[in-house]
């Protein structure tokens, strides 16, 4: 048994999710787009305002909690997912969302992240990946690309970054999507899909920090280059990219290969996107695609159905209730060896 989220009856507007707090991000920060989209999605999703809880950690991104007129916790650095897990388990009837940064989620919060996806608890996790620590003014994060000059790597980052999708799927994620911050349409659809997905949904937003990593996702997301450098996945459809959709992917053993349509290779050999494929190596291979060899995959890479952890917890509770001799604490306390003093 899992309590169902109660649908709302009034129609909401995105303004209904605005708070009276001044939004304190740098002008032009990608966070604004995520905020706006989130307000729209929350208004449209069909959940009553009071049944949302938005949990964040600490970072520029995590400030979003103050700007969404729902219940919210601005917790501590790295602990958004852990805190949100407590909320969801306490009241599985809530729609629980997590807003977190690449540092918050993948550095200090890494353990909670991998365990959430392993358990498949029904949280919608949005990672604002600007590949830097914004709030603390520009130190390397675990997603900072090699060579990037940061305050803690003045000579350039020499650590290998995490590929969030790969880590998530490797640790068992049932839902993973990657979305450019400016593609609010894709973001909106993805957030709806994440909401519908029962289990942990991970959305990596390629978010631009105008101060410390301005343009870091530009190659992937800019108008001029995105046709070549980004492949937008769509379930059931053949994977295509390039200015004229002239490229696709074929298999070479278990490796992906970029090929041109209409040349020597038969059309059937080109891969279709199947986000529901249970086996993960295909989705991992998609998540791993990197410039310059491959375009970067966006959209929903993986969505497979599996029972959520919160549902399992409540199933276990129901099952236990059914077979127990204890219906109240008195039953329990009086069980076993007792004696009376008169």
């Amino acid at each position: 048994m899992q309590a169902e989220v109660k649908p709302h009856t009034v129609a909401y507007d995105r303004k209904d999710f605005m708070t009276d707090q001044h939004v304190r991000w740098c002008p032009g920060c990608g966070d604004f787009m995520i905020l706006n989209t989130m307000r729209k999605v929350f208004a449209d999703i069909g959940v009553r305002k009071e049944d949302f809880t938005l949990v964040s950690g600490i970072g520029c991104s995590s400030r979003i909690t103050y700007y969404m007129e729902t219940y919210g916790i601005h917790s501590i650095h790295g602990r958004a997912i852990a805190t949100a897990s407590g909320v969801k388990l306490a009241n599985p009837g809530l729609s629980v969302w997590v807003a977190t940064g690449d540092g918050d989620c993948m550095a200090i919060g890494g353990n909670h992240f991998i365990h959430a996806v392993r358990r498949n608890i029904d949280l919608n996790i949005i990672i604002f990946n600007n590949r830097i620590y914004g709030m603390t003014k520009g130190q390397s994060s675990p997603t900072s690309p090699e060579g990037l000059k940061t305050k803690t790597a003045p000579g350039g980052v020499y650590e290998r970054p995490f590929n969030i999708g790969e880590a998530a799927i490797g640790c068992g994620a049932s839902f993973f999507a990657r979305v450019p911050d400016k593609d609010y349409k894709m973001l909106e659809e993805t957030m709806h899909a994440a909401y519908k997905h029962k289990g942990t949904s991970v959305i990596e937003v390629l978010q631009n920090c105008v101060i410390y990593t301005d343009g870091i996702h530009e190659q992937i997301t800019s108008k001029e280059t995105k046709d070549e450098n980004q492949v937008v996945l769509s379930h059931g459809e053949t994977i295509r990219f390039g200015k004229d959709d002239e490229y696709g992917l074929v298999l070479n053993g278990m490796k992906l290969k970029k090929e041109k349509f209409g040349q020597s290779i038969p059309d059937e050999a080109f891969l279709k996107h199947d986000m529901h494929e249970e086996s993960s190596p295909f989705h991992l291979a998609l998540a791993r695609m990197q410039l310059p060899e491959f375009p970067v995959a966006t959209g929903i890479l993986r969505q497979v159905e599996d029972v959520s952890y919160d549902a399992q917890v409540y199933n276990a509770i129901e099952a236990a209730k059914k077979y127990t001799p204890y219906k109240s604490t008195s039953d329990l306390f009086m069980s076993g060896n007792t004696w009376e003093v008169k």
Binding site: E50, E69, S75, A84, L89, A90, L94, K321
Partner: protein, 620 residues
Amino acid sequence: MAEPTISTPVNKVVVRFSGDSGDGMQLTGSLFSQSSGLAGNDLTTVPDFPAEIRAPQGTISGVSSYQVQFGGTEIYTPGDKTDLLVAMNPAALAANLKFLKPGAMIIVDADEFNRKNLKKAEYENNPLEDDTLSDFRVIKAPIAFMTKEALKDMGLDTKTIMRCRNMFALGLVYHLFSRPLESTVAYFEKKFAKKPEIAKANSKALQAGYSFAESTEINALSMHIPPARLRKGMYRNIDGNTAVAWGCLAAAEKTGKTLSLCSYPITPASEILHELSARKDLGVVVFQAEDEIAAVCASIGAAFAGNLSLTTTSGPGASLKSEAMGLAVIAELPLVMVNVQRAGPSTGLPTKTEQADLFQALYGRHGEAPLIVLAASTPDDCFEFAYEACKLAMEHSTPVILLTDSYLSSGNSPWRITPPQELPDINIPEYKGAPEDWQPYQREAEYLARFWKYPGQARFEHRIGGLEKKENSGNLTYEPLNHELMVKLREEKIARVAKKLPKQNVYGPDSGKLLIVCWGSTYGSAKTAFTELLEEGHDSMGFTHFNYIKPLPENTGELFSRFDELLVCEQNNGQFAAYLQTQYPGLKIRNYNKIQGQPFFVDEIKQKIRETLEESEYAG
């Protein structure tokens, strides 16, 4: 050989069952405790088992013991030393000689004193045959042989038969204290319902032991311990960890709240998690988190979501939780953290007891982060203080730390099963106005508690977090004076809890030279020591014991002022004494500290009090 010192009737007796880890001594002991409870005695027990999961069989490091003190009077400790030792093998004898009173009785399984076992126990000669035991009264019972005899017709394999030796021994001891066998037999029948031959074998061995005693010299020794005058009601034995779990269950039931436990295993706190994991049947939501930080953060989430929220741990875990406890303080959410203390620092002596996490509970967070600190004193009052912790957390919208310890968690004492209607009411401050007028950091006037509103409640949507908040509105602000105000408000909120607390009591004379002070689990030994000294005629001293640590009860200062000096007994290097100095500057305090991973003995405290009284006599 000395004469037995156990005279008939006596008022209290200490019995210690000891054998190899595989000999079932914990079960034997706990059945004996049950029977003592049924006989109307008060009692306290303590187990003593190897740190290793499975230590080498037959060796001293593999010895597992169970000690119980029971009597016709109030019993606060499992006893310093033993009147009767049951030793199932040479190692058990070797390991326990130091725990015996002079003249104590020893029952051994003489059949186990063979060459092999003696060697494992590092005995060169058989102690049953030299003068090792000349100070004691030794009963050499052929337990193995007699058990085999008793069960020989049942068609059981030797291993199964030998597993019943403990019940033979228990039968012997039952006879000694004139205990009926019925309830134990009934227990076997229930426990081994699916293996009736095992039930029968155990019953038979028990019976055989009883009969054996009847027909031997033990018969002459049997004695009667009168029942204690305990408060009327239903009783059961309970250990501190179960009592904590149950106290929280009771508070959840009382308030109609769901209990959430978010925890991570750690010795000696794990059993609370185990018990509540098994209490899904009562609707408990248990989350075994990936680590302690996840556990405490999830509990904060659960508290925000409106559940009665609990997190349990021991020292190392408490350290890990300190950052998040600060969040709970500034968020002003109800949350109970139980720290079942063990000996530190660091990993320390993980199976040993200590009270050295008090400083951490009081001060172990960055910034000014006050919260309520309670400490339980006996295995059974762990129930009461867990309930109280839940009550205060919800009534005052604050995290509460409840300190228990390894000694309480593993000890047993009879618990009067509190009927639900006797449990104190829990009055969670209720907001009565319109949602528009409600503000997240608005406070109830008397105690300054916040009103708890949570997801699912329409029109109370709000955000909380770790940044400093504007008074009332809870909006973020860097205003200097607001910060100062909020720091003071948070402190004052905790201070005001004192108004609600029971007055601190003095036992014995309520003024005089010396006040014996202790807190938490030192209660048992200190109270016993004090009572005995009082009976011995020392009348210039009082005794007071603290369960409410922060805030202290309102009359504490006044109470202290009635005595010339304090003797603070605690199992650490003087933490409570130091805390008292900060609360009542200028107190004249003597410290009595024991930091040996084990509780005070009654005699140690008596000795110390005597010395102190003499010294101050001399000084005065």
